[in-house]
Structure formats: structure tokens, C-alpha cells
């Protein structure tokens, strides 16, 4: 199967800061890719470069086999893009926004589709009136209008920049259901960034985690959960630092305990723990949220001890 998105060494600086640092990745056609990262990790910048809204300093990206800098209109018509915050023209009514968007897809010199019935059904489903003014809609309703407009051309690729940000739980679930519904048609690719780890785990085939502009994780969602382990070593006296080794994601020292997060915990790590003189080793599975925090928090200092407790 071909790749819907190919990113090669994409880099962008904002002043001295490297917002996106030589990121390369591939999203196969038909894949649902969940893109994670903390605020300011560079997710949004990467997505904007994909869509040609921001120009990369170096590197390139291809969408559906075409250079993303200058997508042909016919290719753009096959790609849905929900920008952050669901921007729409606030002065328009829902009906006007639909007519405005529709005009770019019907009677065009290239082949493009627009499903009027889908839009009507979506509005019915979300109980939205075409006469409602966009400026009077809630965040959730605006997101729903955006989604309906993005899906009406029956896109092959969807790029969603934190689509559920600021939505309440019910609207979020609605949104997820729409995405699940969408990917039933095989070959459709979805690339979405999110803060909601639970949502990502439900719908994503693959996940990527970006930390300070660098893509640290890019693997199947199940795999991420299976290979990551939290290992707690107990020592007599203060715990030593764990030496750098393959698979070590993070370590935290709390008194006599050393908490490690390790990819593919195995014999090599067991030997190291023994050589450090650990008296007890406990290996635990991790949920996505803990794994995400381990990856993105980086090297953290030991917790401060509360002196007033021990001073007495």
C-alpha cells in the first residue's frame, strides 16, 4: 500500500528556537495516526507545514504523492484540513458557510465531489439550523459545522489539528464516533493531533509523540503499550543514578527508590539493576497517559524533600 503522507527531514525555526527539528515519518494509506505532544512541542507547526500554510526552512512533505508546498487544486480537493480552533467566517450563517464552501467543489475544471445529502444529514444529526449565525454557535457546534464541511467532498486524507480541543465530553465522543464512522471506508487516512490520550488510543492505529520539536515515538499504538514498562528499584540508602543504556526513557529518584521507564525491559537491564545493588525490583505495565508523561516530561529532578517534616 502507498503512503498518504511522507515527511522528510522537515525543519522550521522560529527565531533561535527549533519548532520542528528534522522530522521524518510516513503515514501509510488507510492508517489512523494519532499525533501527541505537549503544548508548544511543534505539532501545530508540523501540521501547518504539511498543509502549506507555513513554509519549512528545509525538508519536504508529500501528501497523496504530491509536494505539499504546491498542491494542485484537484489534490487539495481530496484532502480535508481542520485547522486549530475550527476557523469559519463568523459573519456567515451556517447555510451561507455551506454554500460558500460548496462553490469550490462543484462545477470545477477538475473532478471533485460534494455530497449535499451528507451535509443535510450531518446538520440534522447535530441539530443545527442552516439559519443559525456562525458567530452565535458554541465551540462544539462550530467544530461540527467544520467537520460537516470538511467531509462533504468525501476526502481521501484528513488532517485534523487538535479537533477536540475545548469541546465538552459529549461533543468529543460525537466527534470520535464520526471519525470511527469515517474510517470504515477503507483506504481513508486520518492524521490528527490531540491532547486526549484516551481518545487517541481508541481510534489510532499508530501514534507519534513529539517532544521539543523532535519526533521521539512513532510506532503502532498497541506496541507502545506493550513494550513500555515502569521499573521500580529499591535500594538500601539513597538510590544511585541508573547508567545510560538502550531503552531508558526516564528516571526519577525518590529517596531509596529509583523509578525507571524502559522500552523493552530485559536481561540487560536486570543485570544493570543487580550491579547497582538493588534489593527489590518491581516491573509494571503502563497506561498510555503515564507513558506519555514519561516521554514528554524529560529528565526531572528528584522530588524536593519536605525538610520541616524531618527537622523535628
Amino acid at each position: 500500500m502507498s503512503d498518504a503522507i511522507v515527511i522528510e527531514r522537515l525543519t522550521k525555526h522560529y527565531g533561535p528556537k527549533r519548532a520542528v527539528d528534522t522530522v521524518s515519518m510516513r503515514v501509510p494509506a488507510g492508517c489512523v495516526y494519532g499525533f501527541l505532544g505537549r503544548n508548544g512541542a511543534g505539532k501545530s507547526t508540523l501540521i501547518k507545514m504539511l498543509m502549506g500554510v507555513v513554509q519549512p526552512d528545509s525538508g519536504r512533505a508529500t501528501l497523496l504523492g504530491e509536494e505539499s508546498r504546491d498542491l494542485m487544486p484537484a489534490t487539495r480537493a481530496r484532502i480535508a484540513y481542520l485547522a486549530e480552533g475550527h476557523p469559519l467566517y463568523r459573519g456567515m450563517s451556517v447555510g451561507e458557510a455551506i454554500r460558500f464552501t460548496r462553490s469550490f467543489y462543484v462545477n470545477r475544471p477538475f473532478s471533485a465531489t460534494w455530497h449535499d445529502r451528507f451535509v443535510t444529514q450531518a446538520l440534522d444529526h447535530f441539530r443545527l439550523s442552516t439559519r443559525a449565525k456562525i458567530r452565535r454557535l458554541s465551540n462544539g457546534q462550530r467544530a461540527q459545522v467544520s467537520l460537516a464541511l470538511a467531509l462533504a467532498p468525501d476526502p481521501d486524507l484528513l488532517v485534523l489539528d487538535d479537533p477536540t480541543l475545548g469541546l465538552d465530553t459529549v461533543v468529543r465522543r460525537d466527534f470520535l464516533e464520526s471519525i470511527i464512522h469515517l474510517i470504515q471506508r477503507s483506504g481513508r487516512t486520518v492524521f490528527f493531533s490531540s491532547h486526549m490520550l484516551g481518545d487517541v488510543e481508541r481510534v489510532a492505529d499508530r501514534i507519534g509523540v513529539m517532544v521539543d520539536g523532535v519526533l521521539r515515538v512513532d510506532c503502532p499504538t498497541d506496541y507502545f503499550k506493550t513494550v513500555l514498562r515502569r521499573v521500580v528499584l529499591e535500594f538500601v540508602g539513597t538510590a544511585p543514578r541508573f547508567p545510560a543504556c538502550s531503552g531508558l526513557v526516564s528516571q526519577r529518584q525518590i529517596g531509596g527508590r529509583l523509578e525507571l521507564v524502559i522500552v523493552g525491559y530485559g536481561a540487560e537491564h536486570e543485570e544493570l539493576a543487580e550491579s547497582l545493588g538493588a534489593v527489590n525490583t518491581e516491573v509494571m505495565e503502563m497506561n498510555l497517559e503515564d507513558a506519555f508523561i514519561a516521554y514528554t516530561r524529560g529528565e526531572s529532578a528528584p522530588l524536593p524533600t519536605f525538610e520541616w517534616e524531618t527537622a523535628r
Partner: protein, 223 residues
């Protein structure tokens, strides 16, 4: 030219258009003495239409002034309004070459310039050229400075558009294209160039601004 985008632009700029239209109608009917009992007759007394546009309260100057204000508001409005509301990512993702999107915006601006700056002056000139409408001499050469003013208004519009679109680190440097246009207009006032030369320079400057706008539109970051 894309009709849907053109209609959207006209709708968004409707308040500006209405204000400019009312101002030009008021000036025009006052100048032609259409409703002397309500508006008065600006051409009454010893004023001579088109003779000296730089005299205080001259109708030509006022009309060009209204056109200039509209040009600035329009140029900034068409760009900053999209930037502030964050609608550029939505607009630019429409399946349409980016040049065409911006060319449509510019064509709307040029259309409004024709309708709200050039047309009122043309009507005024035709009225002044019609014998028996007013008691002062008229010759077509007298209108030349008015047409130069029109071109200057067009330049101001394009400069305002570029100011709004061009990213800049701080506010003062944002207005550089506007400052440049202003300086050019001042130089043309002072230098005793012929009308044809002035017009050629202004048109060349306008073309330069259009190219700059299309270049910036293609290369800037919309974030």
C-alpha cells in the same frame, strides 16, 4: 477571479462601502447643487470645478480623500481581518491556486476603487463639461490632476494591502510599504515631471506592489 470569494469580500467590507458611498453621494450632489435646500451648493459662488484641487475644501480633493480613506481601510481590512480571526488556513485550503485567491481580493479592491473613487470624479467631470450647469469655464485639461489623484489612491490601496499582509517583527516596520508609497506621492508632487511621466511612474509602482503582494502571499507563514 472567484465569484464566491468576491462576494464574501464585498459582504465583509459592506459597512466601509456604504459609508464611502454615502460620503461620495453627499459630496457629488452638493457639488452639482442637486439638493441645494438640504445639502447646499458647493459650486456656488466663485469656485471653479477642477481648477485647483489643492485649495481648501475643494470637492475633487475631498472626493479623492474619501477614496483614500476607503483605500486604506479596505487594504488593511481585507488582510488583517482574516489574520485576526485565523481564517487564512480555512481560506487557503480551498482547492484554488493561492494566486487566484489573492488576485480575487485585489480585483474586488480595484473594482471598489473604480466605483467609489474614479466613477464619482468622472460623473463630476461630465457634469462640469456639460454647458449650462455652472457659471465657470471648463476645459478637459483641468481634470488631469484629478486622474493623477485617482492613481495615487490606487497606490495607497495596494500599499495598505501589502502592509496588512506582510509579516513584520514590530508595528512600525509593518507600515514600511505605506511609507514608501507616501514618499513616492510626495516626490511626484514636488518634481516637475509631466503628467504622462507621473502616471507611468504611478502605474509602474502599482504593478510592483501587486507583484510584491502575490509574492508575500505565496511565501509568508500563516500562523
Amino acid at each position: 477571479m472567484n465569484i464566491a470569494i468576491a462576494r464574501k469580500e464585498l459582504r465583509e467590507m459592506a459597512p466601509l462601502i456604504v459609508v464611502a458611498l454615502l460620503a461620495q453621494l453627499w459630496l457629488l450632489s452638493g457639488a452639482m447643487g442637486l439638493f441645494p435646500e438640504w445639502i447646499g451648493n458647493f459650486s456656488a459662488g466663485n469656485t471653479i470645478p477642477f481648477l485647483n484641487p489643492f485649495m481648501d475644501g475643494d470637492i475633487v480633493m475631498l472626493m479623492a480623500g474619501v477614496g483614500g480613506c476607503l483605500a486604506i481601510a479596505l487594504g488593511l481590512g481585507q488582510t488583517l481581518w482574516e489574520l485576526f480571526r485565523g481564517t487564512f488556513p480555512f481560506l487557503l485550503h480551498r482547492p484554488l491556486p493561492r494566486t487566484k485567491i489573492f488576485a480575487t481580493k485585489l480585483l474586488v479592491g480595484v473594482g471598489l476603487w473604480l466605483a467609489l473613487t474614479v466613477l464619482p470624479l468622472v460623473i463630476y467631470a461630465l457634469w462640469a463639461a456639460t454647458p449650462g450647469t455652472h457659471a465657470s469655464p471648463f476645459a478637459w485639461w483641468m481634470t488631469e490632476s484629478a486622474w493623477q489623484l485617482c492613481l495615487e489612491v490606487l497606490l495607497v490601496y495596494l500599499a495598505a494591502f501589502l502592509c496588512g499582509l506582510r509579516p513584520a517583527r514590530w508595528y512600525a516596520s509593518r507600515f514600511l510599504p505605506g511609507v514608501f508609497a507616501g514618499v513616492l506621492i510626495m516626490i511626484l508632487l514636488i518634481l516637475p515631471l509631466g503628467r504622462a511621466w507621473s502616471a507611468a511612474i504611478l502605474l509602474a509602482a502599482c504593478a510592483g506592489y501587486v507583484l510584491a503582494i502575490l509574492h508575500v502571499a505565496e511565501t509568508r507563514d500563516y500562523s
